[in-house]
C-alpha cells in the first residue's frame, strides 16, 4: 500500500470515528491539540489495528508518535514489516 493511501485511510478513520475535521488532519497536528485523550488513544490503536491488520500494541514504544505524521510513518513501517 502506498503511503498516500495509508494517510488517506487513517484520516478518513479519524474523521469518522473520532469526529475530527479532516482539514485539521495534517502531519504536524499533535494528538492533544486535536482533542484526543487517553480513551481515544487506546481506542484509536484498536481501530487502526483492525483496519490494517497490524499489531500496534506490542510494537509501540512511548514517544513513537506524538503527531499525526509520526503515526503515518509508524503504521507504514508496520505494514511494510507485515508484508516483508
Amino acid at each position: 500500500m502506498q503511503k498516500e493511501e495509508i494517510i488517506k485511510q487513517i484520516n478518513a478513520a479519524l474523521a469518522k470515528e473520532f469526529e475530527l475535521d479532516e482539514s485539521m488532519l495534517t502531519p504536524d497536528a499533535d494528538f492533544v491539540k486535536l482533542g484526543l485523550d487517553s480513551l481515544d488513544a487506546v481506542d484509536m490503536v484498536i481501530v487502526l489495528e483492525q483496519m490494517f491488520k497490524i499489531d500496534i500494541r506490542n510494537n509501540y514504544k512511548v514517544g513513537d508518535f506524538g503527531t499525526l505524521g509520526g503515526l503515518y510513518d509508524f503504521v507504514e513501517r508496520l505494514i511494510k514489516q507485515k508484508n516483508a
Binding site: 469518522k16 470515528e17 473520532f18 469526529e19 485523550d37 487517553s38 480513551l39 481515544d40 487506546v42 481506542d43 484498536i46 481501530v47 489495528e49 483492525q50 499489531d55 500494541r57 506490542n58 509501540y60
Partner: protein, 466 residues
Amino acid sequence: MLNYDELIIGGGISGMAASLLSAKRGKKTALLEAGATLSPTLSGFTRAAAHFETGFHYAFGLGEGEIGQYFFDLLGLDIKSYPLLQNGYDEIHLPSGRIVKLAYPRQNLEHSLGEVFPEEKENLKKYLDKLEDCFLNSAYLNLHRDKTLDLNAPVDTPKSLQEVLDECFKSDEIKAVLAASSFLHGTPPNKISFGMHACIAGGLFHGAYGVLGGGKAIVNAFEKALKKAGVDVFLNTKATSIEEDGDKKIIRTNKDSFACDICISSIHPKEFLKIAPQNAYREGYKTRVNALEETPGFFTLYAKYKGPRVEASNIYLLSKTNVVDCFNTNSNNPSYYINFSPDKEQNVSIISFTSPEPAVWNKNSPDYQERKNNYSLRIKNDINKLAPDIAKYLEYIEVSTPATSRRYVGYSGGYGLMHDMYKTKVLPMTKIKGLYLCGQSVLVPGLLGSIITSLMVDKMAEAANV
C-alpha cells in the same frame, strides 16, 4: 437527594472492591445494588439441603504472597483459601471417545499428557514454557513489574490461543485438551489472545485454589469489610440514569436520587451505555462497544451426586475436536462442562453454552417453560450417554437459563462481554471527569480480573481529585 463523595453502581465483586478502596481513601461512599443481596453472581443458592455455587469454583493466585491474596489483604478481607487440584486433574472427553486427564500442577501435566501424546512431548514442553512465561510476565498479574495497572500494557503476545496451538502441535486432540480451559473465560480460542488465556490457564497450571465456604464466604467477607469501612449499601436500588450537574453526578434510581463527585459503574457496559450521559463517549466508541459479542449464555443443571467419590474436579465433554466450534451457541450438539464441588458432598453443576440473546431465553414467552424442560431433558439424555458412570448417581435439583442470570444480574452472557483481541476493549475511563467503569467486561475477566479493574479505577478516582 442523598449526598456522597463517591458512589458505586453494582454490588458484584468489582463494585464491592471499588467501594472498599474508595472508603479507604477517606471518602463518604455509597454502593447501589439492584438485587436483594450483594453479589448475586457469587452467592450461590441452597435447594433440597444442598448448596450450589453460581459464580465461583476456583481461582489461581490465592496462595501466600500471590496476587489474589495481596488484593484480599489490601481490601481487608478475611478470606481463607486452600490449594485445590494439587495432585488432581480435569478430565477431557474427546469426540473420538478418548478420555484425557489434564493433571495439575505443571510437572504432572507435562508428564501425564506426554504419555498420552508421546510424539508431542517436545512441543508440549515448548507450549507450557510459553504459557508459563506469559503468565509470569503478564502485565496485569505481576505486582513486581509495576505495570499491573497500566492500560497500555501489551497483552504479551499478538497471537490468539488458536494460532499458538496450531504453531506448536500437530495433533488436533492435544490442541482440544489444552484449549478446553477457554470455557473458563468464555472467549473462543480464535478470539482470545494467548496472553490473556495464559493468565487463566497458566494460572491454574501454576496452582489453583478454592475458598473455604466458597463464593458465599467471599461475599460475607466483603459485607463485613464494607460495614467496617462505613460504606452505605443500598440494596434493591437500581440506577436508572446518570446526569451531570456541573462537576457533580446525579444518579437516579427506582428509589432515592444521589449526588456525588465520583461515580463508578460496575454493571454490564452495554447497560451502562443506556443510563450514561450522552457525552460520556464519542458515538464511534459507543457503536463499537454495543457491537461487542456477549460470552455464551449458560444453561445449567444442578444435581446432587450420590456415587463413589469422583477424583476429577471438572469433566469437559467436548462435542467437537475444534474447541472454537464448541462455542457455537446454536449447535444441536452442545459441549458440557461438569463441575464437582470440592467438598464432601460433591454437588454437581452441568453447564452448556446456549444463546445469550434475550429473545431466545425469555421468561415471558409462552413456551419458555416447555422449552426449558425439553432442553433439560435432552441434556440429561446426553449425560446418560456420554458419562453413564456419573449419570446414574445424579439427582437433579434445579435448572437455570440465561434468563435466570438476566433476572439476577441484568445480563445473559455467562461472563459478560467477550475479550476479543481483535475488537474494541472496554476501558475504565469515560469522557466525563469522575465517571468510570470497572468489572469483568473491562479489560480483564474473572474474579481477580474484576478486582484488578477496581484498582485501576481507584487510581483514576484518586488522581481526578474532583
